[in-house]
């Protein structure tokens, strides 16, 4: 579980995050969405103990990041935006280092050496063996989860961008952390890999607290249970991906295409359409061909759930002798909400 309270962070006098608060529960995937410079990465850097907040609090699993950064770091798996890999190590050596850093058992060789020196003998050896096995299993699990089998002996610099991204993710999940923080985890992957990694993140999110940042909106819709839209260091909108759409006013539209049964559609006019009950305004209205008309009609939010708007339109069209080619209720996509929310700031 992660809690941010009125977090502010400034770099050299310039404030990048202006008082952001949110809570991310265990067993959920929270998406941070926003244009570049919105403060996504800054928030992640505070949560991972890389930066300390200028004011406000960041609490990870009940631990304040400023009070005990080491305890926070050991509970967090972090994949930074620039995937942090050592080019001149092999995949095995790299994960070995991470396992050392995370205190996962000890390498088999070290285990043998200490057990040999220890007088306690049998028991110490058994513990060492158990820890070495645990470590080997952790590495195997991370490699399997990220699809890196067969690359174990490869040098990092020989890996393609997609596989580097996978290795970065393997690094983050190696110690099976309760908290996962992923900064743009699917950049540089091909569509198949993206689906695989999204599935992986989704399954990790069932038992962990996952925060990911992205500017890919389908990603949020595909894997996030909650989303926070950030703009210029502030929360612009917050909620479940579907709720955010609903919360914005007048966001449901009806797309309509009509064909005149005989002759042309010239007789059809805007006013007649917008005066129908349950509709608000006709936002676009054009003739695709002499006989076919396309219109987009906004519905007032109060009537968003009204079931009979489609019926009204249909009856009206039939009474006028039109054929309904298309009648589609359309909810504003996250993409459109995103553009709407983040461009509002630019007007200031």
């Amino acid at each position: 579980m992660i809690e941010l309270r009125e977090l502010r962070k400034s770099y050299g006098g310039v404030e990048a995050v202006h008082g952001v608060s949110f809570t991310a529960e265990t067993g959920s995937v929270l998406g941070l969405l926003g244009p570049n410079g919105a403060g996504k990465t800054t928030i992640m850097k505070v949560l991972t103990g890389y930066h300390f907040p200028s004011s406000g609090k960041a609490v990870v699993d009940g631990i304040d990041v400023e009070e005990d950064p080491i305890a926070v770091k050991s509970r967090v798996g972090y994949l930074p935006e620039s995937v942090p890999l050592y080019q001149d190590l092999t995949v095995a050596e790299y994960l070995d280092f991470i396992a050392d850093a995370r205190g996962l058992g000890s390498s088999a060789k070290a285990g043998r050496a200490t057990a040999g020196a220890a007088e306690t003998g049998e028991r110490a050896r058994a513990i060492e063996r158990a820890r070495a096995i645990e470590r080997a299993r952790a590495i195997e699990r991370a490699i399997g989860a990220c699809g890196l089998e067969g690359f174990y002996r490869k040098k990092v610099e020989e890996l393609s961008k997609g596989y580097r991204q996978r290795l970065g993710l393997a690094q983050a999940i190696l110690h099976d952390p309760p908290i996962l923080i992923l900064d743009e985890p699917t950049t540089g992957l091909d569509p198949n890999q993206i689906i695989e990694i999204r599935e992986l993140i989704k399954s990790l999110g069932e038992s962990k607290t996952v925060i990911l940042s992205t500017h890919i909106l389908q990603e949020v819709e595909a894997i996030c249970s909650n989303v926070i839209i950030l703009n210029e260091g502030r929360v612009a909108a917050q909620g479940a991906p579907s709720e955010i759409g609903k919360a914005l006013k007048g966001e449901e539209r009806i797309r309509l295409r009509l064909k005149a049964a005989r002759g042309s559609a010239e007789g059809l006019d805007r006013e007649a359409l917008s005066s129908l009950p349950g509709l608000r305004s006709v936002s676009s209205f054009r003739a695709e061909s002499p006989a076919v008309l396309a219109a987009e009609i906004a519905m007032p939010p109060a009537d968003a759930e009204a079931p009979d708007v489609g019926e009204t339109i249909f009856d009206w069209a039939v009474s006028r002798g039109y054929k309904v080619l298309e009648l589609e209720r359309h909810r504003l996509s996250l993409e459109e909400i995103f553009v709407k929310l983040t461009s509002e700031g630019e007007g200031r």
Partner: protein
Amino acid sequence: MKNVLAIAKREIRSAFNSPVAYAVILGYLLFTGIYLYFIRGFYVAGQADLRDYFTVMPLVFAFLVPALTMRSWAEERRLGTYELLLTLPFTEGQLVLGKFLSSFALAAIAVALTIPVPLTASMLGSFDAGILVTQYLGVLLEAAAAVAVGEWISSLAKNQVSAFVGSVLALLCLVLVDRVSGFFGAQGLAAGLLNWLSLAFHYDSFSRGVVDTRDLAYYLSASVLFLYLASWGLTRRKWS
């Protein structure tokens, strides 16, 4: 301690997986060898004395050590692994110490590879083993202080080149500062201060085979000071 060793192990692995470490160590051995046998004419002089060889070490280290330490932090910044290191459960002190240890180990390996020089020389005449041990102790202490300086400058530098140039300049200043007092005829307190600052001045008695606790204390406190500065700089960065 486990964490420090984990960091050092990773550093040394990286160093030996790339050609840089080999090239730097080879360059060091070649240069000191050429200096001893050709420039100082060891065989020509016909004296079983390696003092010249050891006296030149601080000056050589002013170039060797920056070549070893320049990667340390600057490379982490370039690769983006800086962010990884600072978000793994390491304290700043452990990070600095781990990196110091690995660079010092590389320098020590380079120094150890010079052992054949006194060994072959000992076949030509009688050597005082005690003096030799003291000379090597001095070399290692001087290397430790130089590595600490190099690590500190690397932690401040934006890239490898500036880390290298900065460290070379800083070490040259520290090595040569005692010559200044002789050159300008500085006397009394000023001369004492300049000498006291110098990495080479404190090394002098070691190369004569004398262990002076003041010199020992100087090298150890210089190492601690610069490592502390590096660690302080890393901690401070979290707030800015």
